[in-house]
Amino acid sequence: MSDFAGMEDLLQDFLVEAGDLLSGVDNKLVDLERNPHDLALLNEIFRGFHTIKGGAGFLNASELVTLCHLTENLFDKLRTNEMQVTPDMLDVILGATATVRSMFGDLERSLQPGPATPQLIEQLKQALAGQLKGNSAAPKQTAAQAAVSVPAVAGGETEPDWNAYYQAVTGVEPVTGNLPVVDTTAESDEPHLNETVAEQIIQAAVGRRTTDKPGYQGPAGGRREGERQRDNSIRVDTSRLDQVLNLSGEIGLTKNRLTALRSDILNGKNDTDTLHALDLAVSQLDLLVSDLQNAVMKTRMQPIGRLFQKYPRIARDLARSLGKDVEMVLEGEETEIDKTMIEDLSDPIIHLIRNAVDHGIELPGERMTMGKGEKSFVKLEARQEGDHIVIVVADDGRGMNPERLRAKALEKGLISDEEANTMDERQSFNLVFLPGFSTANVVSDVSGRGVGMDVVRTNIQKLNGSIDIRSVQGKGTEFIISLPLTLAILPVLLVCLEDQPFAVPLSMVREILPIDPKEVQELGGRATMVVRGEVLPIVTLAALLGWPQQRVPEYGVLMQSAEQSFVLAIDSFAGREDAVIKSLYDFRPKGVAGVTTLSNGQIVLILDMKELLGSMGEQRVATRAQLLLEGQIAAAA
């Protein structure tokens, strides 16, 4: 039963708006830690709590009101200089924002939130009275104990135990300071994040269930109705909607014009003027439709800043739990991106940040000996490059060692000796995306269990994007995510096998080359081709699709994905198109991403190259003789 009968709409509005507000507050708290006397910050945080309190009052969420009221009062004293911000106080306040977020989680499930822990309320009151005790060992112990009880829950299939989370995250210092989070059994001296603690930090900052984390393979049914509703609403600038309205109006006018011209032509009027007018009207319609497509797409675009807001808090908490000093730098927050992508990017970016803080950044001592500043920076940047959005997560840490990566992959049996020897730096970096790869030497209990980076890449690829790594030892590592502007339209190359066209994503296509049988060589039982000094395997489209190969392929398409490059052998081309992807209703053959309709009305399958390659395994690569049909030709001759 919903506690909010009749108020659902209002509740959804409140959650979207207050959620943004709370992320803003979290962010400002991280800033405040560095500039404790910034009056503008204090005022904004005060107003944030105040506004949430006001809205919560109308929803009768009295416990949320109480908590916000106390926190707001504290900020009132801070902003009027009656009190000064202390680190202890800030921890209590961060605990309060985490609880507020949990309460939003309850509201999202249409439940009235229960009270905050008495401990948190007590500490807020102490802070208000100017008597906040220093971080005594006792409350920390509680937090740590609570933390210990969480993994059983996180691993289970049922709903996480919210009470455990409450206790875990609302302790004095939920996950910060000198909590016993450092794994001393690790072979290296380097402390690494405890999974549970990291999970809690992310949970507290993002306010979601563990089941939503990357890599969670369980049923998606755990998502509640309210959450889905929330996912489905979007805030659009009215000027953008007006533009859509204008364009559809103009299309209506052009349609009228065309209707008139049609009756003229049907009545036998086909002089030059009429045909010219028809030509004009169709060109105009063409322009208007593409403008409309753009305008509709724009309504789905949201500034990525709304996503970025959550991260400084996560970075801060993770860094503190490791005894590192990390400042998060955000750039390009105004860059706009499709809303569905914003949601799907959230987890991969959390993972990359967590990775940067945990593995990339050195401990302050190590940084000092390296001649670096004690404080490190993790940069999160978004920008538009042509028809792509580029998101960069960069750290100024120790960088990646390609040799170590190769040795590790070899040791884990993920690659062969031969592969290891032929790998360049970039390919070595990309090893981290392999399932089961982890640079951490300890498998149990510490970060880097090998889940994560592979899921990050899979998620990015699901968005038709790619992820790349640049790293310089001693200087830092950059993860570069490149995404298409929209998921609705996919530029494709139409390739033909016999007379049947198929569409392949243009983003994977590097170049098109003729296949000269004389240049096809056999290497290790595989047909290969040398393209500008690089030896590339040839994969026939016929083999990928399981069709018998009827003739010697004439052309090769040089395809490149993050992990490999290869030449796709095909019979001919039918051109390129901007495909509007339609998914097949209720069934999805392996290797088919969807279908699209060509301008001539023909229906064409869009191929999912990655899936096709994956399903083929090793047999996909033909020998030279198979490729060139040598036996058959000889027999025919």
Binding site: L10, D13, E17, A18, E44, R47, H50, G54, G55, N60
Partner: protein, 130 residues
């Protein structure tokens, strides 16, 4: 005085709150409502004319409700407009500050349509006398 066609300006930086107030006004039969997200925008809309009644939040960025109230009272053209202040505080000093600045009424969040109707009736009554 209480004409159902009168035009309200609801000033609040939190759009959910503007919607709440708008809904409450609708319950009372007032459907002609414009919105502003802070005092600055409100002053622009007010000087454009046509507004009969202002309902404003206190705590807002750029220009607070109390600043807006003072600005309204200092502008001869709109000085006569009824201004109802909405705040989350029932602090005495706040109420006095609002009264001194010339607020027509003062209402504490959260409130119901009935409370709003009551406060507005009082304002109309006062205005009728004055």
């Amino acid at each position: 005085m209480s004409d159902p066609k009168m035009k309200f300006l609801v000033v609040d930086d939190f759009s959910t709150m503007r919607r709440i107030v708008r809904n409450l006004l609708k319950e009372l039969g007032y459907t002609n409502v414009d919105e502003a997200e802070d005092g600055v925008v409100a002053m622009q809309k007010l000087s454009a004319g046509g507004i009969d009644f202002v309902v404003t939040d206190w705590n807002m960025p750029n220009m607070t409700g109390i600043e807006l109230l003072r600005a309204i009272r200092a502008n001869a053209q709109i000085a006569h407009l009824p201004v109802l202040m909405i705040t989350a505080e029932a602090k005495k000093e706040n109420i006095i500050e609002a009264a001194q600045a010339g607020a027509s009424g003062y209402i504490v969040k959260p409130f119901t349509a009935a409370t709003l109707a009551e406060k507005m009736a009082k304002i109309f009554e006062k205005m009728g006398k004055g």
